[in-house]
């Protein structure tokens, strides 16, 4: 019972905070403290979202495609590299510091380069998403592989398991929680990465829409597209969580630590 009321409280608190911020925002714009053309009211934002809905959806679809393709490619690359680094310690020593350095290069600085190299199509956007999503997943997986109990590996070795069997039965499952934490972070970067790269050139996408409405000083539409980006990002993270729950069904039983659910000897 206690758990349930805690659960409700955990949902109510952020909802309350969110409502409060909306209220303050509305008060600021409605009272005219901040002029309406600079800070549209929440209501203006929502109505802009619905007025321009079909157009926004066309652009969103492009951004979502870039984000998802980029994320998928990023994850595949990360998986390949993490496996290789786990297998060959030398590779990890050589490559990991380089990877860390690349993470300090701001996305916004590489984006124009990518556009110059690859043109105005989807390619530079997807590439940028790959670059931003690759790292959290790779590092998560690498940490996951290291989290494996060496005794579990010894057990498998005593059964004369091959390196691949040890990988498949012990290392991969143990690294899944780390992988999914990384993937969640990456999913939140993916949409933002796509949008930022669209700012710098292109014909479609939420980033392109954003630059257009900015030039027209359409603040309500500006806010509407920000809201849409937030929603899309949250949905993508939610999707990751759904996949995570499906991929690790055994975690459901972890929480029953009070003993009442256990069978006795």
């Amino acid at each position: 019972m206690r758990k349930r009321s805690e659960n409700i409280r955990d949902k109510l608190l952020p909802a309350g905070a969110f409502a409060l911020i909306l209220l303050i925002w509305w008060a600021l714009s409605a009272s005219g403290i901040i002029p309406g053309f600079m800070l549209p009211s929440p209501w203006d934002m929502i109505s802009a979202l619905f007025r321009d809905f079909p157009n926004l959806m066309t652009h969103a679809w492009v951004s979502i495609q870039e984000a998802v393709y980029g994320l998928l490619i990023g994850v595949l690359l990360a998986f390949g590299l993490a496996c290789a680094m786990d297998r060959f310690g030398m590779l990890e020593k050589a490559v990991l510091p380089l990877l860390v350095v690349t993470q300090t290069i701001p996305t916004i600085a590489i984006a124009p380069l990518l556009v110059l190299w690859m043109g105005f199509g989807m390619a530079p956007k997807i590439t940028l998403v790959v670059i931003t999503t690759f790292f959290p997943v790779a590092v998560g997986l690498l940490d996951g592989f290291k989290s494996v109990d060496p005794d579990a590996v010894a057990l498998l070795r005593s059964m004369n398991a091959t390196r691949w069997q040890i990988f498949r039965h012990v290392k991969i499952p143990a690294s899944l929680p780390f992988f999914f934490s990384g993937l969640r972070v990456s999913a939140s970067y993916a949409v933002v990465g796509a949008v930022i790269s669209e700012w710098l050139g292109g014909f479609e996408g939420l980033g392109v829409y954003m630059t257009r409405v900015r030039k027209a000083y359409a603040f309500d539409k500006m806010f509407a597209v920000i809201l849409l980006i937030v929603i899309v990002s949250l949905l993508l993270m939610k999707l990751v969580n759904v996949i995570k729950t499906a991929a690790m069904p055994w975690l459901k039983y972890r929480k029953e630590t009070d003993g009442t659910q256990r069978k006795t000897v």
Binding site: D151, L176, T264
Partner: protein, 255 residues
């Protein structure tokens, strides 16, 4: 019939000798204990028997064939149960069969009838985190049994359990050993446990660890249940305690 034999096994780690000249053997159907104080090299010896590590010198034979440094011949239960939390119990216990290349369905079919023997009926589709301590131990023992070709190595399998559960498992283990007809090398630092379960006890003493004493425990399996309440049990206990104390005195005097 002799199943397992070691000849003059020695092992050093970074110049420090851990085991010296260990020669021991295991007969078919026997339970033999390696009894030694903490840090005497018991786990190291089992790692060598299982083929996980190579001895510096000496050899291990299984049914006459040399298997020194070759894993996969002798089934080994390490100091923890090491059930994989992401696999259901049936897939955990069938793991050694799958590692050997058996198809998953076939391995499950092989494992299935053993659940009754190991008192695990109904746990097949549960995850390890849903089992009690005693059940986890029996599941790990079943996995070890399914991977075995007659010889099982156990590294302190009962030490983490409470006294009642442990005594129940002791009786159960001797029974299942006789029924399924396998043989066991058991590591323990618990003198009572060694006497209660063993047909023979090797005392691993000193540093480096050596075997100077072998004690045969004369008590048929079917009267083992209350063995620890008999005077003979106390006599064995006294004998072993004296040897261990003497060994400690000499090693203290030497060091």
């Amino acid at each position: 019939m002799e199943l397992l034999r070691t000849e003059n096994i020695s092992k050093s780690y970074s110049g420090r000798m851990i085991l010296r000249d260990i020669s021991m053997h295991l007969e078919k159907g026997e339970l033999v204990s390696l009894l030694g104080l903490s840090g005497s090299g018991k786990t190291t010896l089992l790692n060598i028997l299982s083929g996980l590590i190579r001895p510096d010198t000496g050899s291990v034979y299984l049914s006459g064939a040399e298997i020194t440094g070759q894993p996969g011949h002798i089934s080994y239960m390490l100091q923890k149960d090491l059930l994989l939390e992401h696999k259901r119990v049936i897939d955990n216990v069938a793991l050694p069969l799958i590692i050997r290349g058996m198809k998953k369905e076939e391995a499950r079919k092989r494992a299935e009838p053993c659940f009754r023997d190991f008192d695990l009926e109904g746990t097949q589709t549960l995850y390890p985190s849903q089992l009690s301590g005693g059940m986890r131990q029996r599941a790990a023992l079943l996995r070890t049994y399914l991977g075995s070709q007659g010889v099982i190595l156990l590294d302190e399998p009962f030490s983490a359990l409470d006294m009642i559960t442990r005594e129940q498992l002791h009786a159960w283990y001797l029974d299942i050993m006789s029924r399924m007809g396998f043989s066991t090398v058991l590591i323990t630092h618990d003198v009572d446990e060694a006497i209660q379960l063993s047909d023979r006890i090797y005392l691993l003493t000193g540093s480096p660890g050596e075997i100077h004493h072998e004690i045969r425990v004369d008590c048929p399996r079917n009267t083992r249940q209350d063995f620890n309440l008999l005077p003979e049990f106390a006599a064995y206990k006294r004998q072993i305690r004296d040897i261990l104390q003497e060994a400690m005195r000499t090693s203290n005097a030497a060091g």
